[in-house]
Amino acid sequence: MGLLEIGGLLLFLMLLMLSGGVWIAMTLAIVGWVGQAFFTNTLPGKNLFSSFWETSASWELAALPMFIWMGEILYRTKLSEQMFDGLSPWLSKVPGRLMHTTILGCGIFGSVSGSSAATCATIAKVALPELEKRGYDRNIALGSLAAAGGLGILIPPSITMVVYAVAADASVIRLFLAGFLPGFLLMGLFSGYIIWWSLRHPDKVPPPEAPTTFMEKMRRSGSLIPCSLLIVFIVWVLVAGIATATECAAYGVVGSLAIAAAGRSLTWENFWQGLVGATRVSCMIMFILAGAAFLTKTMAFTGIPRELAEFVHSMNLSPFGLIGVLVVVYLILGTALDGISMIVLTSAVVLPMIQKAGFDLVWFGIFIIMLVEIAEITPPVGFNLFVLQNMTGIDSNRIARVTLPFFACMIAGIGLITVFPSIVTIVPDLLMGVAK
């Protein structure tokens, strides 16, 4: 049997188990075991042990529970109320007015949270009822919330980026820094669409609220100061290289605890619940990573990815052609898989291909994370859609439909970073020097 046939067989086995409902982490490990036991001369048991132990007993990976915990703490604070109150007075002159609170709110919350669904839920909790009360268009509000929630994983810190960095053996800090500009780019595209839409439908935008004085605006935004300080602090620590990504995560937790304590939402019960919740989620992710590490080892032993990379190379696809094919593949995967599984499932096979074609691993990380964001809003399985369905009772397929314009914005964003890769690489290159 040729290597590509073995690869096909393993892929079939994986899809069979996944669709039958076997947990993703276990599926990865089982497929890895089958590959090693039947198609290599190594001892799968020994490799299984070392993959699991070496992946989990890792100092770099300790950043993961920290970043998740940080999000859990802030999720339990009144940050979302403060966000709406603080942002709204500044937006009365912009076409579309308060509709931009969803985009800006998600952008700001995304820079202290590393999760897409949590960002979407936190901002939607307050923005949806407030916008509806004032008579703003519900479709635009829903669409922008579903799409902008994804900024949680693109604007650092980002749990998904930590996972990608572990899977691809790339630098977490470079990835974090690379996420800023594409994040702003997407915010610009989303807001641009809202402005364009409002100019075309002026009748659907409610009148501005009573004008407020500058001092009044400042007073209402005052509650955002602690959160902004936390953002500035995290960025500063990263850029100045004072702490490692892991230590910066630990300081983020301390900062979030301080914000929660200042807002009087830090009870002993909240603290423990946040901690246990963060632990459970990190257990799940670390198990997936360990399973994926074992599968990656299998792939390395069999040589399937190299063969596949050669095969793709021999097709003489242009780099843009390859990226185009990958966009389609990830869009399809994203309809049924969650982002983290999508990354670890494909990294063993796709990364060698990408490197062979001459792409930068950090650039590819941002590219794949933007595709993960899209996966969150594509039915039937898109987590931001589920979140909004649960909060509003509107069917997730209808929410997906109103998200379409923002989906187009994201595709445009991916096109832009592909044509101008420096949007991604310029910040890490400037601050940390050009890699290699």
Partner: protein, 188 residues
């Protein structure tokens, strides 16, 4: 875990739930310890304490957090899976699919636990010492792997028995409860 039996939960039921909770709480304490040690390490660099041992401890705590909490996390429905097919088939078919998945999981985790125990035993017999800054026998931190996978095997078998008797698996029930409350803090 049918609802009628929860009122008078048997000793076995309470023991098992307590076991998973204990694992989860130990894992949470490991995460808390990581936070404290991380802050200490960065402070230490400023004040020039000797902190190089911290990195090893943090790595082991990270492993312990991952392994000890597995069963608790599994029972809570935090382990991700594709539910597209499961949710579109009839309840009896779904029950069979759940049983097959659980059986596959039981064998896989049993195998993992066996090798974890075997290699940790080897580390103990050959008295392997951790290579880096902290020179303790490596089997001590590795025990978290053995214990964690043992608890997970028990949890998977527990669910197997529950679904076999016609009950709803707790990893489904807990997620439904959580989403009904509007709590999405645990979805990525």
């Amino acid at each position: 875990m049918s609802t009628s039996s929860t009122a008078s939960a048997s000793f076995g039921r309470r023991f098992l739930d307590g076991l998973y909770l204990l694992g989860g709480n130990l894992a949470a304490l490991c995460v808390l310890a990581i936070l404290v040690l991380m802050i200490a390490a960065s402070m230490g660099r400023v004040f020039e304490w000797r902190v190089s041992w911290i990195n090893d401890i943090v790595a082991w705590l990270c492993a312990a957090a991952a392994f000890m909490g597995m069963a608790y996390s599994f029972r809570n429905g935090d382990f991700v899976r594709v539910t597209l097919v499961l949710e579109s088939v009839s309840p009896p078919v779904r029950r069979w699919l759940e049983l097959v998945s659980l059986a596959v999981a039981a064998v896989a985790i049993g195998y993992l636990g066996y090798w974890a125990a075997r290699f940790t035993w080897e580390s103990y017999e050959f008295n392997d010492i951790a290579g880096n800054m902290v020179a303790i026998p490596i089997w001590i931190p590795q025990m978290s792997f053995v214990i964690g996978s043992a608890i997970l095997v028990i949890a998977v078998l527990d669910e197997c028995v529950c679904v076999f008797r016609g009950g709803k698996p707790s990893y489904v029930a807990r997620v439904e409860e959580r989403h009904a409350r509007g709590d999405f803090s645990e979805e990525m």
